[in-house]
Symmetry: C2
Subunit: 314 residues, 2 copies
Amino acid sequence: MATRKLGLPMRVPSADGLPERVTIWEVGPRDGLQNEATTVPVEVKLEFLDRLAAAGLSVLEATSFVHPKWVPQLADAERLLAGLTRRDGVRYPVLVPNQKGLGRALAAGVRDVAVFASATEAFARRNLNSGLDAQFDMFTPVVTRATAEGLAVRGYLSMCFGDPWEGPVPVEQVVRAGRRLLDLGCGQLSLGDTIGVATAGHVEALLRAFADAGVDPSVLAVHFHDTYGQALANTLAALRRGVSTVDSSAGGLGGCPYAESATGNLATEDLVWLLDGLGIEHGVDLDALVATSAWMAERLGRPSPSRVVRALTG
Amino acid sequence: MATRKLGLPMRVPSADGLPERVTIWEVGPRDGLQNEATTVPVEVKLEFLDRLAAAGLSVLEATSFVHPKWVPQLADAERLLAGLTRRDGVRYPVLVPNQKGLGRALAAGVRDVAVFASATEAFARRNLNSGLDAQFDMFTPVVTRATAEGLAVRGYLSMCFGDPWEGPVPVEQVVRAGRRLLDLGCGQLSLGDTIGVATAGHVEALLRAFADAGVDPSVLAVHFHDTYGQALANTLAALRRGVSTVDSSAGGLGGCPYAESATGNLATEDLVWLLDGLGIEHGVDLDALVATSAWMAERLGRPSPSRVVRALTG
């Protein structure tokens, strides 16, 4: 297919109040790799991060300081950060689950962290061994110390649309939990559709509820999974509501195209293709990114779930 | 994953002028199967059509009367139509490429046909052995006879966004070609993104241009391919512009999940999931449809490219 040579997609900026620029929050090295069956050597991760930065991505969620027992794929967090060549203008946030994780991150010289909360009681109990309210007791000292140390803190809020145990999640409940994370001191809130059940109308309703609660869309990010094929349509709905930070995963890392259920993150390449078509700036060199994802797919021994990667490397 | 039992996705109708009801124009039996490597026996096609109708799809593009040399997968068009049990309230349109094809269709008792035109010079020359203008000389007697016989006629317009030889296609050129098909007597015009390069802003721009040219969105349909993962986001953009007929293919037929480049149609199940979430009526029983696509995937010896099918049958 010769389409890339022809400079497609055609740039046709939409008039409907879309942001001029979007920040892509690249989660492949953390959220992607922690969900891959294959554990990647630290040298490969370092090359991956460097290639992603070279491709123009300005936020790379590098790793997680969760206990290695839970996420063995990221057990090398200290070694990774010690080996990282930081590029100017690039942020390398890491996930910290608790005070111990924050301590490890600070010792490794991290300046940018993210905490992970649940919007539902059931997921808080299962994933965090905590209740919906009690989880904030766990985060408060983490966020307080991080902000006191001058770190940027992002709050992830998971199960914002549906929960496998509770079903659809009322938007008011999500807004309440999100407001608490922001009030604690999180500078950004990433709204996660952890099981991929969101649809465009639900996304709009949730973002409208946040606006009604006085939360500016500039502090919000969206984090969609493509379980039911809705991730990019949901992203489009969020952009129309003024959101300008979008989480995605290079090559769709974390979702396996051979698996019966492909539950991976939105692929960064598919997002870039949409943004290019809408004339929205993002700073990413698509060819360099596709080459990087194709290279990583070889390391993982399976094709990329990203449609753009498959179309451009076919 | 227990999500289906919980009745997800949550229905959150959007306020932004979406249609209340969408007609799904199911192209799997024709556009899907003609692009599959495996040729399916006529008995399987008949069962497929009957199961799709039983699942609530009201328009089933059944086959094509193109010369068997070009599309051997559909060489059984006469046998298929002779064996078809037509259900009340279900339309079974067929593709007719020329006068000879129309003659065969009429002899087979068809009441609903579609013609296939190109929006670009290059594709008209390659696919139709004709020029952009000259192709209308070919269609005029076909559409004239079909309407005189009281048939409903749909006009497909391909390469409406990009063309592999010409690159991006100007919207004015597409509107001009589309107007000619409507003026000839086509009751509906399906705008095709044959190579999957459309993005949401481009879709909006094209539909705006049709509106400016006095074409009501009620006579338009959209036909997207998921080559670059944009099909559902493009559909959402079209719904917002008032389009209420959407082409899709059960189980994403025509696109192979193992191929390096997945160029298939939008999967009907992924579309239904979006429409369900938006509270838009469509009449389809998703579980019955998913079961049908899973059954057909077995006949074809490969998994379905539809994310919804994979998620719900995993």
